[in-house]
Symmetry: C2
Subunit: 405 residues, 2 copies
Amino acid sequence: MVYISVIDEQNRLASAPAGNALPNSAGALFQLLRDGTPRTRSDLTAMTGFARSTISARVEELLDSSLIRPAGENSSTGGRPPSTFAFNPEARSVLAVDLGGTHARIAVTDLATRVLAEKEQELDITRGPVAVLDAVAAVAMELLQEAGRNPKDLLGVGVGVPGPVEFATGRPMSPPIMPGWDHFDIPAHLRRWFAVPILVDNDVNAMARGEHAVAYPGVANMMFVKVATGIGSGIISDGRLQHGAQGAAGDLGHIATPDGDATPCTCGNFGCLEAVASGPAIAAQLRERGFDVPHPAAMLELVRSGDPEALRTVRHAGRQVGSVLAGCVNLLNPSVIVIGGVVSTAGEHFLAGIREAVYSRSLPLATQHLRIVGTQTRARAGVLGSSAMVTGHGLSIENVNRLIG
Amino acid sequence: MVYISVIDEQNRLASAPAGNALPNSAGALFQLLRDGTPRTRSDLTAMTGFARSTISARVEELLDSSLIRPAGENSSTGGRPPSTFAFNPEARSVLAVDLGGTHARIAVTDLATRVLAEKEQELDITRGPVAVLDAVAAVAMELLQEAGRNPKDLLGVGVGVPGPVEFATGRPMSPPIMPGWDHFDIPAHLRRWFAVPILVDNDVNAMARGEHAVAYPGVANMMFVKVATGIGSGIISDGRLQHGAQGAAGDLGHIATPDGDATPCTCGNFGCLEAVASGPAIAAQLRERGFDVPHPAAMLELVRSGDPEALRTVRHAGRQVGSVLAGCVNLLNPSVIVIGGVVSTAGEHFLAGIREAVYSRSLPLATQHLRIVGTQTRARAGVLGSSAMVTGHGLSIENVNRLIG
DNA sequence: CGACTTTTGATTGACAACCGACAGAAGTGG
DNA sequence: CCACTTCTGTCGGTTGTCAATCAAAAGTCG
């Protein structure tokens, strides 16, 4: 349900259903049904305060558009049993794209962020926007067919890319690992195939949205932290994903760790979190200790094998991440921190190191209800977030009214 | 002007005047006039797309309520000269309260956050909520009379208190320096005198709102940092003040400084920013170096006198603050950081230290358009912010419609 | 099986919102 | 002084919304 702030009768700040304050419309009614729970017309009149006749008309509109569908009948309470209606996630579909440095994951989802068809494949981002996006579009067409969906069916396209993005225009802004993509108009190019709204965001922001939508839908303040080649985060504050002034918010990788570590970083500074706790940094530390770690996957195997030295190294890296996150907790006071990225798959020791450092260095008021957890959506976080980004904008009151009208 | 996100004709994410999507109403029209610029009826028809007759009716409503007032005539363009209308900040007044540990500043302002009457006085917060709020109410009544305003005239009351607040209820939550205030219902108590909406927030959040409203109204992402006995901040992201999950967001005081300093802090940890760069910490450092610094004011005098050793100490403290802010910049990517609090009045050396550390440790993308500045509103930031908090809620579309209807 | 209850859909009339048209007001320019 | 332009207020007409009523549908209960 969508809530807005109002001052209630006691002149206190409170929350009220948006339907009371916003204009009555099919779109507003739809927001009440969006949680998927079946409701009767009577439920809706009680929730909105509008007349049954008005609700009936609105429900009919929504049924016609197939955005809601009949959901059976409730049991009778002595008279005719009421018929119920619920959000119909099958009404439209969403194309969700998650681009990484070397791989792309592409999915077709329904409106409830459920995957209908999905494919992951190698795709080198350095091949440039035209080659990459053309390849993405080709796979997308296959997936749409596989899912039995028509391109006309799409509500929109969501794309996550591994670099900062100017969210309003969908253009990457000076991305360090995406040569040729700077200021490229991704929506314009993709619109050659898909004549629908196209939204682009940073990949970690997309992952934050995915985890939020699927696993923590009611949480207003959370962080998603990705620890892999780099270390980044997506921030959701007050229920909204935060981009910052240049779309560069959430970059944890080059925050200095508090213990005065002087490891040099690729950015030119010393002691950056990325230089001491990222996947490559952990692998380097293990090599220093005589282990044979030719590639990141080998590091994970070593840790999973239970080698004590490797576990200590990973746990220490976790503490480093946690020491930086402790500052983030004091600053943002989130309810949940989700840890994702390949390094987080190394096991519980990494997470334990993070928790240890956060709970020892953050303020009690901020940590008393704080949960630090591993990702539930794992490798799918990105595509799920791209999908949630599209439904978040595409199922707004205004847009639903447009879809119907 | 109020903007909302929509997908435009090109299916791109863009901004459009709220009047297009929100229902037409006097409140919505008022938002277009709220910037204070005089506009003609024709201007408004062009901005909203509504018929002149509709606009005329709405303008009349707003004139009747005195929320807008005639603002003279524009010069003729060949025919009858159009009359213009502008926001009338005198229509109502606001009671703004800024409570500190030992002082209170109370002001009556107009709707444009301009002070009409103001008083600062000693008031020990440890005397407890009843004694303090009763004293505040008494002063407020005097100030209302001094400003020639009636209590009925109030749009609302805004209060800043030196501790965490549950914003929705206006109750302090485990405030460390406010004995007797924990969970006290401040709005309920003040409502005995003022039967209007009463909003309560943390004092640093209020200062952030004040500086934002008066000096940086268009900036969507900024931080206000107060360096005094403690070190705290107010965060404005995406144009909204962020409270975090427990209203504890913005606490910089107990973030660990990156250089591994081991100074013990009152919180039980080591190397907290507050332990190395707050007013008392700087005073302690100066005492260690043989200076006679019996109280905080003496520290300021010493620095203002230009003593090189004192300047070095202050500059070093600035660097410590900056090293923590560098992380905040990477995390939040603000456009502006405003430095306030008594320590910031010590001179440019403190600010210089902050800038030095931030610009050396933050990412170029985040710092290229970043400004780090001293407060313009100074000691008034708190009351101005309390006032802005009230107008921000009280002049919303819904509330203006209520004021008129 | 019949009386009663509850839900649903259709109809109707009241009402408010909004628009366009019109006439009057207040200027400019020849 | 008059033609023309631009702005303003008013009025009637249209539209769409909403609430009340009613009859039919579909169940429960005795």
